[in-house]
């Protein structure tokens, strides 16, 4: 990781904040649309991220929340099923974990923790497997089935925070603080990158999603390691960026990629760009 400190071979003349800024605008915009109703009486969207109604016609429902409902033994009404289908269809196009990077309010909390962690130079790292989130996903669905209730929704930091910002937080801030401290002190990018079962659901949805980040300019990579430093899921970079010799195409196909675009921002040689998962062939050029 010492390479991160060394100056990049290419002069840093580019503006490095485009996608990060757009992402923050998107997160604030989504929250703003939800708050516009209760604060200003302009009802663009009602409800919260668990389930909502846009412009009184378009239902949206979170797939993981609905999975818990179904696991608990309730047969949901058509509105919720349709809402979840629409959400799944959207993220099949946009990249499942684009939800995590562009919509989820907890992302701002964990990004803040990651930023502070780097500032403070903290080195502690208990590292649960990155697959822990899938175990949690399965365990929580099983718990829903056993308890006959959507048990995760009592404490789910994602629902808790978003619902809290709109309907009142109560002691919900303690759960959000716990996530922040976990990311800051225990495991870097621990919540979103290792544990969150909601993110795991979107990962599964995104495994075949159309919109992807591509390392089309990987021949220009100067090994500065900036992308690995900023990436919340750095394991997805390796195959696409360095896999040319093994015959791996330039598309970042790892389903944990949240399409946050931070690698595009920080890469001075301009290796990365947004594209589709199609045409994942090796470049003809040397």
């Amino acid at each position: 990781m010492t390479a991160a400190i060394l100056p990049s071979a290419t002069a840093r003349t580019r503006w490095r904040w485009k996608w990060l800024l757009l992402r923050r605008l998107s997160q604030a915009g989504v929250l703003g649309l939800f708050l516009l109703g209760p604060w200003a009486g302009i009802w663009v969207v009602k409800g919260n991220l668990s389930s909502s109604l846009v412009l009184d016609v378009l239902p949206l429902t979170d797939p993981f929340v609905l999975l818990q409902v179904i696991a608990s033994g309730h047969r949901p009404e058509a509105t919720a099923l349709l809402g979840a289908a629409i959400v799944v269809a959207c993220y099949l196009l946009l990249g499942g974990r684009a939800y995590c990077g562009w919509v989820c309010p907890v992302n701002v909390v964990t990004d803040a923790a990651a930023w502070l962690r780097e500032r403070l130079g903290l080195r502690t790292r208990a590292r649960p497997l990155r697959s822990a989130r899938y175990w949690l996903l399965g365990v929580l669905l099983a718990a829903s089935a056993l308890a006959g209730a959507t048990v995760w929704e009592w404490v789910n930091p994602v629902s808790l925070l978003h619902r809290g910002l709109i309907f009142g937080l109560g002691l919900g801030w303690t759960v959000v603080l716990a996530v922040f401290l976990f990311d800051l002190l225990v495991t870097p990018r621990g919540w979103c990158g290792h544990l969150c079962p909601m993110g795991a659901t979107y990962s599964l949805i995104g495994a075949g999603s159309l919109l992807r980040v591509r390392a089309d300019g990987r021949a220009r990579c100067d090994d500065c390691m900036e992308c690995f430093r900023v990436c919340p899921e750095p394991q997805v970079l390796q195959p696409a960026l360095k896999g040319a010799a093994q015959g791996v195409g330039p598309v970042i196909t790892g389903s944990n990629c949240s399409n946050c675009g931070r690698c595009i921002d920080v890469c001075d040689p301009g290796v990365f760009r947004f594209g589709t998962r199609l045409h994942n062939k090796l470049e003809a050029s040397p």
Partner: protein, 259 residues
């Protein structure tokens, strides 16, 4: 970085990398199971609903409701009177679920039941189409010692505000034994018509309401299944099941007892 990817492509059955991976997977699985168990236990403990918290009209029985409700707050938005609210973490109501407190803001019993129509999952059961059939709870005249009508006055407020006037609450006249020459009009709730909207509780003029809406399971008794009400059976059969005149055995005092 992901350790599974840095390990050799096909480690032998006893290779250290494989062993470490298996250990980590086992640890993760156990951790996840413990965590899930903890969350389920907490959710189980936090499940009880306080008596003052009433669910919106059409809510499924509490056990089913907690599986069906996604805590989206669309019912809250549907309510035109700001009656409903979502519980926050730390309140005694399961966090995120909708409820109302009758004494603060009672249900206005809208004909089109907008809160129920807004529910995307059916946690508020769409089979409820007439608000008069809602059973959010049951009004109970809890305190006979402070109720003004029981004291002999004509308060009648709970009776007057009831949306099911003269059906859910009636005033039953009864001789006032204290004065010996007045009548008390006792507010009497009839479960067959009470929706549990809470207007009576909200309107009760006392500092602390003498009439309160309670969850159905708290408010109602339950007759033994084998109990038959003679007068109802008689009505159903169209006549007495026994001969009108019963010939009971005569019992004469034994001879000499009168002495």
């Amino acid at each position: 970085m992901n350790r599974t990817q840095t390990s050799p492509p096909s480690p032998g059955p006893s290779s250290p990398a494989r062993r470490r991976l298996l250990q980590e997977v086992a640890l993760t699985a156990c951790g996840a199971a413990l965590f899930g168990g903890g969350v389920a236990l907490y959710a189980g403990a936090a499940r009880a609903l306080p008596a003052q918290a009433l669910r919106p009209p059409g809510a499924l029985a509490e056990a089913q409701f907690l599986g069906a409700c996604v805590r989206c707050g669309l019912c809250v938005r549907g309510c035109p009177y700001d009656t409903l609210r979502l519980a926050t973490l730390g309140e005694p109501v399961p966090s995120g679920t909708p409820y109302f407190v009758a004494r603060e803001v009672p249900c206005e019993m809208c004909d089109d039941i907008p809160c129920l129509q807004a529910c995307p999952t059916g946690a508020l059961d769409p089979q409820l189409t007439a608000i008069d059939d809602a059973r959010m709870g049951l009004a109970v005249l809890i305190d006979h010692e402070t109720c003004l009508n029981y004291l002999g006055l004509r308060c009648d407020v709970c009776y007057r505000v009831c949306p099911a006037l003269d059906r859910a609450i009636t005033l039953e006249p009864e001789h006032n034994a204290r004065t010996g020459r007045h009548t008390r009009f006792l507010p009497t709730v009839h479960a067959a018509a009470c929706t549990g909207c809470g207007k009576c509780e909200a309107a009760c003029v006392l500092e602390e309401a003498a009439i309160k809406v309670l969850p159905m399971q708290l408010a109602k008794g339950q007759l033994g299944r084998h109990y038959l009400l003679g007068w109802k059976e008689q009505e159903r059969a169209g006549g007495s099941l026994l001969p009108e005149m019963l010939d009971l055995p005569d019992r004469m005092p034994p001879a000499g007892a009168a002495q």
